[in-house]
């Protein structure tokens, strides 16, 4: 367990609802849920394997103080950001954002599952996009394919060969981006300074919460 995880568990004692309300983005909406299940029924990935707890269950688990079950859940990472749950919720809970917020919190305190593929994509995407201010699609794809090592990466790349060639032929994939060529912002330095400040402020704001 990471230190931050223990620190938060101690700080909020047995009040996991309060922990989520104060620490997870949009967490204050959890108490609005009335357990109707429309979110779970509207979710396009809820009908595939891999789910343990759909949103409705996550909300109830939070209120029941089931900290371990929630932080160990795969449910948050099943989100495709389709916003079906968000627009259909009769209590206007921004379900999509709450799920993202809990995922971010689990990651921040070192509790996100290490091998979860969408969690990995989430990290990789943000790192890729903020490196130069714009997404390098080729490097993004490479880092996803090669996340389980060179062998697995080559196998995956071979499987996707015809798709990749099709995109290159259509002018929609620039192999030179692999070498770091491609599109970048001019003021990368300014973007990095801005993000460092934003991260510092966000950490400060979260740290100030939940202390008597």
């Amino acid at each position: 367990m990471s230190d931050l995880n223990q620190e938060m568990a101690d700080r909020y004692k047995n009040n996991f609802l309060k922990e989520i309300e104060e620490q997870a983005e949009m967490g204050e909406w959890v108490k609005m849920c009335m357990q109707c299940g429309l979110c779970s029924g509207s979710c396009p990935t809820n009908f595939h394997s891999g789910w343990d707890h759909p949103p409705q269950e996550i909300f109830m688990l939070i209120r029941a103080g089931k900290r371990e079950e929630v932080l160990n859940s795969q449910g948050m990472y099943m989100c495709t950001s389709c916003y079906n749950c968000y627009v259909r919720c009769p209590r206007k809970v921004p379900v999509t954002h709450v799920m993202h917020g809990i995922a971010e919190y689990a990651y921040r305190i070192g509790r996100a599952p290490k091998a979860q593929p969408t969690m990995h994509l989430s990290k990789t995407f943000w790192t890729n996009a903020t490196k130069t201010g714009r997404v390098n699609e080729v490097q993004l794809t490479q880092s996803l394919y090669f996340k389980e090592g060179i062998g697995a990466g080559i196998k995956k790349a071979m499987e996707m060969q015809s798709e990749a060639l099709g995109l290159v032929k259509a002018g929609r994939l620039n192999p030179m981006e692999a070498l770091g060529m491609g599109h970048k912002c001019k003021d990368i330095k300014g973007i990095h300074a801005m993000l460092a400040k934003a991260e510092e402020l966000e950490a400060r704001n979260k740290a100030a919460k939940g202390k008597e």
């Binding site: 983005e25 396009p44 990935t45 595939h48 099943m78 495709t80 950001s81 389709c82 916003y83 079906n84 627009v87 259909r88 999509t96 993202h100 971010e104 990651y107 921040r108 996100a112 969408t118 969690m119 990995h120 994509l121 989430s122 990290k123 995407f125 943000w126 790192t127 996009a129 903020t130 201010g133 714009r134 997404v135 699609e137 794809t141 996803l144 798709e163 099709g166 995109l167 259509a170 002018g171 929609r172 994939l173 620039n174 030179m176 981006e177 491609g182 599109h183 912002c185 001019k186 300014g190 973007i191 300074a193 801005m194 993000l195 400040k197 934003a198 991260e199 402020l201 966000e202 704001n205």
Partner: protein
């Protein structure tokens, strides 16, 4: 002077050599005909998209979007921001809404922006290209330049998620928005009725959990075929790529014989306005729309 002028936020996927570069080509052709001037926001950056949620945190993500607002405001004063990508539009609108309703978030964002030598005064309106077309011009104006109606061609209008939810187009329902069908009809095509118009293509899960996304894509394409569509039409770069690029993989996995071209609304409009195959970016389609290529050549 152009009839309408906007600050343009093309987004990462629309850049040259990127996955939606042909979207940009067709938007530029369409706007030329409609006399809409789109000036790119200088040095714009990525919106963060939805999938960056775990690593980014709220403030860094909002700061990224705020930087675009500040650049637009400074360099293109008085112009509304127009995005062509669903994720860019959603990320920007979401950020604007939060900044305007949360003074602490705004104050922190200003502090972060200062590090990049920028600040926000008034955040411009954030529009989607489709809103500009149907709200600022209207279907009648869009029909006027039609020289070659796409008569006898059947399209399934695939609206998908983020152009439709959570904001959507004013006056449209989340469950059955009609604007894309109306755009298809405006350029002379037939919009087929099918039941997967607003189904999710899997979004970013097409990369991370392809089997889940491909099962969803299969349902969309299958329904389009079953209801007589020859092609799919969409306003979203990720919907376009996901529904087009993985058809081969789906065929292998499910034994289907999908080979359905997936177009942008702007490609149809460019062709109906008399544009060439190249001006419509048809050479950017991986599954070639040969019927439209022949049509453009006539």
């Amino acid at each position: 002077m152009a009839r309408k002028e906007y600050a343009f936020y093309p987004g990462c996927s629309s850049q040259k050599g990127a996955s939606a570069s042909n979207y940009l080509v067709s938007v530029q052709s369409m706007c030329k005909t409609l006399d809409i001037k789109m000036t790119e926001i200088p040095d714009w950056n990525c919106c963060g998209a939805s999938v960056s949620y775990a690593e980014s945190g709220e403030l860094p993500r909002i700061a990224m979007n705020a930087r675009n607002f500040a650049l637009a405001e400074t360099n293109l004063p008085g112009q509304e921001i127009v995005a062509t990508c669903a994720a860019c539009w959603l990320g920007s609108r979401e950020s604007k809404e939060r900044l305007e309703h949360n003074s602490q978030l705004l104050a922190d964002t200003q502090t972060a922006l200062k590090e990049a030598g920028l600040q926000i005064k008034a955040i411009p309106e954030i529009r989607h290209m489709v809103e500009v077309l149907i709200e600022d011009l209207g279907y009648d104006e869009l029909a006027k330049p039609v020289k070659k109606p796409l008569q006898g061609m059947k399209f399934a209008g695939y609206v998908g998620c983020q152009t439709n939810r959570p904001f959507g187009i004013a006056g449209e329902s989340f469950e059955n928005p009609m604007y894309l069908d109306k755009l298809i009809e405006t350029v002379g095509g037939e919009a087929v009725k099918y039941d997967q118009k607003v189904t999710c293509c899997g979004g970013a899960l097409a990369f991370s959990e392809p089997e889940k996304a491909q099962a969803q894509i299969k349902d969309i394409i299958e329904s389009a075929y079953d209801n007589g569509a020859e092609m799919l039409v969409t306003p979203c770069p990720l919907c376009q790529a996901n529904t087009e690029v993985y058809q081969g993989q789906i065929n292998k996995k499910y034994g289907t014989k999908f080979n359905m071209p997936v177009l942008y609304y702007s490609q149809l409009m460019t062709l109906a306005y008399g544009g060439s195959s190249k001006e419509a970016g048809l050479n950017g389609n991986v599954i070639r729309a040969s019927k439209l290529e022949q049509f453009a050549g006539k």
